[in-house]
Amino acid sequence: MRRILITLALCLAVVGAAGAVATAIGGGSTVTRARLERSLPAAFANRYLAQAELLGRRGLTAASLHPTAMCERGGPDVPDVGAGSDWVCLVGWSDPAVPMPPEGYGKFEVAVHANDCYTVSGPSKLVGFATIEDVRGRTVTNPVAEFDACFDPAGDDTPTGVTYPSVLQPLSTALTVGPDGRTSVQVSCGAGAGGCAGTLTVMDGTRALAEVPYRIEEQATPTLVVPARVPAGAKTVDLVFASTVGVAPPKPVTLPVQ
């Protein structure tokens, strides 16, 4: 028994030592932003064409779709490298039947594994739900809703230069008035390059109550304080965004006052 234990301990020690050496020599993760940004659009195009075939659509090719992706991991403070389920890829493509939203892309959630393979979940608004009805009326799995792919761990790792803007959205569904009469509104700045910046104008009808300049990092949900009192009796206010960085709602957002 002692012989067995000694042998197994030695085996584990050898594996550990080999690993320590390999780690010391420098084994950075092969999972990088650039490799994902090159691999995902190609796989997406193939899956999108498979979906088009199921739907009986013709005339689409990988070249006509011309998908491009900007991928990043976690928030602005997390390096865009390594396996994890917190990767996000913003993918834009051109399909005449499916116009892109104003920001020009859909947000794909990506779980990347240590073996250089990854699982992608697409935005149902743009690619449809998990199952679709094919051209013959059968319910089939949507090839784009979720798919798996792998990239070459030694593949091209130079930056692709693809960037997409963040999307700014108000999260608050009402304008809350604090005990001191001040009001605030919570907004979210989504994943994208450069975050969100601009000016928020709070309007009471046609009268501007306050101007709030903002500069928000991507993937953040701060609360913007409005430095003005809302007149008593006002039922609603309009939020008008003038964006310099990122994409903000193009039309005024009307919020009830509470």
């Binding site: 197994l8 594996v15 780690t23 190609a42 796989a43 240590a114 393979c117 799995t141 798996d148």
Partner: protein
């Protein structure tokens, strides 16, 4: 140790002895080891299982209402037989293949300890080096045979019993049946180098522990631990040198364009592990004192 336990097939002297009563050559000793293997019920059962078990496995997975989406190729395993064969390959590489090869390689040396037959085989018939390499070759041959049987049985049962949809590759591309057969067979074949590395590891553990239980169970358990460690994203350097990583190198065959870097890397890593394990095992066998046992 004067009595010889019954289970050892005491294959008689004729194939082991060379002409003129000299020590037998490698070929003769190999033939002797192979006959000992073939005579074992366990070896026959393992080969039969490798041939038959893929059928119920393929049926069970195809019959599931929800495909096992969390595993690579699980998403289309219920609709495409090719995907099913690759899903099973993924599981086989995780623990089944290391276990199957260990059943012979982890026992081939320690069985002589169990039966107390080292003196018999060494003093009467052949030299230690010849015996060592004959046993290693026999274990290697078994690994090749069991992989071929398991791979062929899995591909055949998956394609015949699974769904008829074409294979979806790892770049989302659709692969036609003719090419899918070549790629799936190549993917199965590509697990031979790490399988042989595990064979050598099982030989080493069998020699070092002199215990068949350890020789059979330890490589499979080590393989599982290595799989877990390799799946941790933070240990990329360690992942590269583990003999379990080449079990996944076939992924590159199913992308478009293909990549073969991991296959080459896996070949080197497997060769280093096999060479190191065999070298240590060889020294242990050469220096071992068998007169006491």
């Amino acid at each position: 140790m004067t009595t010889l336990p019954a289970p050892t097939p005491t294959v008689a002297t004729s194939p082991a002895h060379g002409p003129a009563g000299r020590a037998a050559g490698l070929g003769a000793v190999l033939a002797w080891e192979v006959r000992k293997l073939v005579a074992q019920l366990r070896v026959r059962v393992v080969l039969l299982a490798a041939l038959v078990v893929p059928v119920p496995v393929a049926l069970a997975i195809s019959a599931q209402s929800q495909p096992p989406k969390d595993t690579l190729f699980g998403r289309y395993a219920t609709t495409s037989g090719w995907s099913l064969a690759l899903l099973i390959l993924g599981f086989a590489g995780q623990w089944a293949l290391p276990l199957l090869t260990s059943i012979v390689a982890g026992d081939v040396f320690s069985s002589e300890d169990q039966h107390g037959t080292w003196k018999t085989v060494l003093t009467r018939s052949t030299g230690r080096s010849t015996l060592f390499w004959a046993k290693v070759l026999a274990a290697t041959g078994f690994a090749v045979v069991v992989l071929a049987v398991l791979g062929a049985a899995t591909i055949a049962s998956s394609v015949l019993l699974g769904g008829g949809a074409p294979l979806t590759g790892l770049s989302g591309q659709t692969i036609g049946d003719g090419q899918a057969l070549v790629l799936v067979a190549a993917a199965w074949a590509s697990t031979l180098p790490p399988l042989l590395a595990f064979t050598a590891l099982a030989v080493l553990i069998s020699v070092a522990t002199r215990s068949s239980a350890a020789g059979i169970a330890a490589p499979a358990a080590l393989g599982l631990v290595m799989q877990l460690v390799g799946a941790l994203g933070s240990l990329q350097g360690l992942r590269t040198v583990l003999p379990t990583t080449p079990f996944e190198a076939w992924h590159g065959l199913l992308t478009a364009p293909r990549f073969t870097g991991p296959l080459v890397e896996g070949l080197v890593v497997s060769a280093v592990w096999a060479a190191a394990a065999l070298a240590i095992a060889y020294v242990l066998v050469r220096r071992r004192d068998v007169t006491g046992g």
